[in-house]
Symmetry: C2
Subunit: 149 residues, 2 copies
């Protein structure tokens, strides 16, 4: 096997990685090269929706060296510590959302594309009483959309 030297082969990430390092340490995770790499893809500004595979493809395309297993591990760890949020839309795969605040989604059932709906643009009046001894953990609204046939 070929041993690669420990040099980042993709561009311009020192300063964003600097911030990411703090972000990761702040939640108790070591700032490894792999976590910094995918963190730079995920937390670069705009909110994103990814699957393990889409993120892996993207990382590989960007020249990063990271295995799919590590992507899975990182996405789950990021979710555990609140850096990401899982979105339930497709029973066959798991979507992760970099927007962890309370908001909802459009899901295009035709192409699998997810779009955010700002929290204040949806109003859910929840009249029903909860089963006894239960409290609300969260509310998810998914609006499935499709092309005008």
């Amino acid at each position: 096997m070929v041993t690669m030297e420990n040099v980042n082969t993709h561009t311009n990430q020192n300063e964003s990685h600097q911030t990411l390092t703090d972000k990761l340490r702040g939640v108790g995770l070591r700032a490894t090269r792999q976590r910094l790499d995918i963190g730079s893809l995920l937390f670069s500004g705009k909110y994103r929706h990814v699957t393990a595979e889409s993120l892996h493809d993207e990382a590989i395309a960007a020249g990063m060296k990271i295995s799919l297993a590590t992507i899975y591990n990182a996405l789950n760890q990021f979710t555990d510590v609140g850096l990401l949020r899982e979105v339930l839309v497709d029973p066959t795969r798991t979507y992760f959302d970099t927007n962890t605040s309370s908001h909802h989604h459009f899901f295009n059932i035709d192409n699998g594309h997810l779009t955010d709906i700002p929290h204040d643009e949806i109003n859910v009046s929840c009249l029903p009483t909860l089963p006894d001894g239960q409290i609300i953990d969260g509310v998810d609204v998914l609006i499935r959309i499709k092309p005008v046939a």
Copy 2:
């Protein structure tokens, strides 16, 4: 409910199977013993939430002879023709709901239990405009609940 006898000729079976037979034929499916059996479990009055495995366990416990593969096939066929509805709650398995009308759910994240919320007890004000050329296919509201820690 217990099957009284093993009728295997063209003789009439019990009357709930009689109704089911029509129901199945009405959607273009042959009234096979297996489909009638699980239909009797699913459409016996009250609305139900099942997974392929839970329904299989139940069928076996009721003395029915049916394979898990056939359960999967039947649940998918029933869903295709509108006799069932898929509910997205758990990325690791598929839930089916015998209530196909517009309504929402409580999902107890502690034990995986699903509860219906009548349609008129939830009000979703949908202000956001849809992406161009798209129409709404459906709206799902999932309220995740948990025990009072």
